[in-house]
Symmetry: C2
Subunit: 261 residues, 2 copies
Amino acid sequence: MSSPSPSSPSSLTLKPMLDKLLMRHSLDAEDQAALLALPHTLRHLRPQELVVREDDVPKTACLLLSGFAIRHKFAGNGARQVFSIHLKGDIVDLHNSLLGFADHNVQTLTRVDAAFIPAPAIMDLAFSRPAIGKALWHDTLVDSSIFREWTLNVGRRDARSRTAHMLCEFALRLEAAGLGEQNEYELPMTQDQLADALGLTNVHVNRTLKGLRDEGLIEHNKRSVRIVDFATLAQVGDFDARYLHLVNARQLSKEIERATG
Amino acid sequence: MSSPSPSSPSSLTLKPMLDKLLMRHSLDAEDQAALLALPHTLRHLRPQELVVREDDVPKTACLLLSGFAIRHKFAGNGARQVFSIHLKGDIVDLHNSLLGFADHNVQTLTRVDAAFIPAPAIMDLAFSRPAIGKALWHDTLVDSSIFREWTLNVGRRDARSRTAHMLCEFALRLEAAGLGEQNEYELPMTQDQLADALGLTNVHVNRTLKGLRDEGLIEHNKRSVRIVDFATLAQVGDFDARYLHLVNARQLSKEIERATG
DNA sequence: CGACGATTTGAAATCAGTCAAGAGCAGTGG
DNA sequence: CCACTGCTCTTGACTGATTTCAAATCGTCG
């Protein structure tokens, strides 16, 4: 069984977190053991379940072991903005835990297996083992970088470019997590949710996707996305992977540059 | 002399950083002394000077001692998005220093006195003194919270609300730094720069400000802004100060709620 | 005074939103 | 097996907020 069950916690339950950290940082055997030994409780979450609600005072951090979740917040007019999407290995509310109270919501998109780790346990580890602390801090800063890129996306790119950009981001992040390929993956969001991430309406997202389809840049039915020509889509989306701070991002962006001239 | 000069570094040069951290965290005498003793070099910067350029590999973090700076990034179409504005006491590129390379630009708005602190010195302190580490980490997360709110602002509020929101944010942050009052302050940005922060055009910012003026919500000429009725402006701007994580933010938002019913 | 940048205003164009209705598809229960 | 329900996706016609393009005004500084 690849998906852990709440009834059978094991020493490898937290491995997705470790794998993700090891992509960017080197941790010695003791560091790794300490991370895997973090106390936690496992929970299954249903689709659309709120993990953290704005204003909550979270005492635990939520680590995703499978499935997808988003961060979002409502404006006073009822409109919602999605800030980021999270997947296996992401600690999804270290931000809220450390800030004292939640300034945004965290909600599942799909069914999720999650490990809830007491925030003090994480902090103790972060400051008793600097390599771990740096890795975790770094990860929260990568989140920041993605927030910034989304702001740029929403503020300064038109619908076509904006949508293409997001499809490219998903492609690389899903691939990096072993959940898809750069050119083909399952999108875990409805067009409504995509609209909330893009700062558009669902109607306009639909038309924009149709446009990209008609141009022959992507194919998609239901949630399955196939990127016919990644380099061109990246060009349309003004996509430069470096903001993702993936290990191979610089290399990727160079490849794309070479491919598109 | 309140503004330090490069030619006279003293043990209190870094005090603005300490003051800002002490607003949210308690640090004992040794922590405080260690922070003030951080090695640094002082530099005057001119208006519009780039502090960090996208792709740089910064080896130092830049602490603002006076003046204003912004973080921003250009889209491929030449449009620019401003992510945040920074002022006295802010460490303006801890993000970029820790991420390994800069994924965005940092640029002064005004003349600036800055202290450049070697990144390793900060990290050593952060992990040898957990109270300092938590305070610094926390600060980078507050930056994140502001990034998120700006994304919401740009993505889901109309021009009027969006502009009002930003004027409210500036009011509180400038006041918190002792650089103005909640109802009157000097805005350090041109309408062009404001437009880049709001995801609008300078023309539309101009019209929107005129609208707020005509409604009697604000008065402004040149860079000086007077907020005639903060509670109403906050309502128009859908502004809830909690995302700023100022010590008195919760209290503030309650006061506003009470005032506007 | 002249130059330059910032602000202001107008008119026309356009991108994206709104409103509304229909189609496709999955799950549920009779 | 089929009708029903609900949700997502799709499309059309219309509206409107914001952009674009252009030009005039204002203020500051040399």
